[in-house]
Symmetry: C2
Subunit: 343 residues, 2 copies
DNA sequence: ATGAAAGCGCTAACAG
DNA sequence: CTGTTAGCGCTTTCAT
């Protein structure tokens, strides 16, 4: 059916113009007359020509390609972020290289180098940016923008887009306080998690702001195992029966916590203002994917807007591409409260 | 620090050889003497040279790039599949373009074309392959392999890797039958889902194979809303109290079902052989992500090995690249039973 | 407003 | 075993 490979030359011939004219039409740069423009486009259409980006970029045009490095696309936050990035990039006429640096970021350098070799116009670093200082230099050398789009703060002197973890926790905490809670505990996350640290900072801020005491023993470290979360919840409620609300660091913890509450002979839900003895325990969780509706009653939770982080990263990168001399900026994406029935 | 852009020429000069020698060393093709090889590599190292794939592919070398089209990377199966694909591709020295065709596959053509323009060596189609017949032709024209890696059967005459949905359902059903269940219901999925159809086929097969009746009214359609799943479960158990086990089409349904069982005054767990009256209801779910441990007791479930699907797709594609004339093959990835405590 | 021509960095013959 | 050379398809001055 179609020829082996249609080149710009054949298009030019078919349209009765020269290659440069076709090129100009393609990139919309030169001032080409309406008529020629139409003729060329017709030729392109009828021949089924597809422009060879490699050749284009070799000669100097942009490659239209952006690289992404994440540890593993399956991590909910990064999956969501990747989706947003890909979507937005597509509307900008660009495509995305996906690379995975591995669970502990062990392939970070390899990923970076292969992206460089592919001639990407820019690189988005999603998480695993710990020992990535040299990437910043490499990127500068290669003169391509590097931007971070991760869950928590990262590199210095680099554009960064990330969710506002502190604000997320403040949002959750204030929400609870305003609904009458004065004893709010924190469950979940590991002590080494930066995201968690930022969130707990926000939680602490709101507590103090409203004159509530900050009780370190109400902050429970816990892996993402339902069983553990449930057990720790029971224990917590047993030791501190006055606790009326719990913030849960992620969805699985929230679920475990939910069971822990039930197992303690309480129910999950908003504070019952009239009851003297507090049977009802409120739960608010943090989450990366929208629409998770894990329990019954469904959980009120704070959504980190990961997809928006991705979108913004794309937008930001495009800006950077246009104007490489801009000062590094930090863009913080506000959290979204999904109000349901658990608090 | 480093030069603007190191080319093969500079490497050649530094190593005191010609460009072609360098090129040969790079691709490991020609028979270059050990000594020169080392010299060249040293030069590459010290100059920080990175090979320009665009130029390479323009001239004829492979681009080392593979394209992927999924509807949305966030769908658990496809996220997992993408991760596997990316991993395996990386070990093969290739990289991946990620494109999203949108919730209803509306950008399918656009994705395909942009991948083509980027000069990919092959394309993996993950889901949304419904009205994709013309892609097969386009791919043939462009002489690049197209392979499907999706949740259920898809295109004809195309290499395909997918999970064995029927086997998954048989595995689950037999597992239950062997543990004494004779009345097994099915909950979840939409009537238009091919994956579901394949699974229900397997469920049916096992039922008949063991001489158990196939009861259409024990097969309940249900969206992925916990609430609905819970309500439908209660109703089902109310109308057919003899049902002792339920297969759940996905994780959210399983969770809803779990609550439905509890709400019906039963508990979740394996069949209690000695009790006359069947209080305990067994649950087995189907899932794409490993390690989901949603309830307490944790759910026994059938894992679709999505990551393996991705890995195999990569391997398969590489094979295809080496030998384009192979007959189309269907590769079916067996499910994995994750035994926990709900059945 | 359009065309001619000079490469971008690399690979693949073909010579030596 | 290694060097020379001719492009791959495209963009981009510089003329016209």
């Amino acid at each position: 059916m179609s020829q082996r490979k249609i080149t710009i030359n054949e298009v030019a011939a078919a349209a009765g113009v020269s290659v440069s004219t076709v090129s100009l039409v393609l990139s919309g740069k030169g001032r080409i007359s309406e008529a020629t423009c139409v003729r060329v486009n017709q030729a392109i259409e009828s021949l089924g020509y597809v422009r060879n980006r490699s050749a284009a970029m070799l000669r100097g045009g942009g490659s239209g390609v952006v690289g992404l490095i994440v540890r593993d696309v399956c991590q909910p936050f990064y999956a969501e972020m990747t989706a947003g990035l890909t979507e937005e990039l597509a509307t900008q006429g660009k495509v995305l290289f996906l690379t995975q640096s591995g669970a502990r970021g062990e392939h970070l350098q390899r990923c970076f180098d292969s992206l460089l070799a592919q001639g990407v116009e820019g690189i988005v670093l999603g998480g695993g940016a710990d020992n990535a200082g040299d990437l910043v230099m490499k990127a500068r050398d290669a003169e391509i923008p590097l931007i971070c789009a991760s869950r928590a703060s990262a590199l210095e002197e680099v554009d960064a887009i990330r969710p506002d973890n502190a604000a997320a926790a403040r949002l959750a905490t204030e929400y609870l306080i305003k609904r009458g809670h004065r004893r709010i505990a924190w469950l979940g996350g590991s002590g080494t998690s930066l995201t968690r640290a930022e969130r707990i900072g926000g939680y602490c801020t709101s507590l103090l702001q409203y004159g509530l005491p900050f009780r370190p023993d109400w902050i429970i470290e816990c892996g993402s195992h339902q069983r553990d979360a449930a057990a720790l919840t029971s224990e917590l409620l047993h030791q501190h029966p006055a606790i009326s609300a719990i913030l849960c660091h992620n969805a699985s913890v929230a679920l475990g916590c939910y069971f822990g509450v039930l197992r303690s002979g309480r129910t999950v839900g908003p504070k019952a203002m009239d009851s003297y003895y507090n049977q009802q325990t409120a739960l608010v969780g943090f989450g990366d994917v929208p629409g998770a509706e894990l329990t019954d009653p469904p959980l009120t939770f704070i959504h980190s807007a990961a997809r928006r982080v991705g979108r913004q990263a794309a937008l930001h990168l495009v800006q950077r591409l246009d104007n490489p001399t801009l000062a590094p900026r930090n863009l913080i994406i506000p959290p979204v409260l999904i109000e349901r029935e658990s608090a």
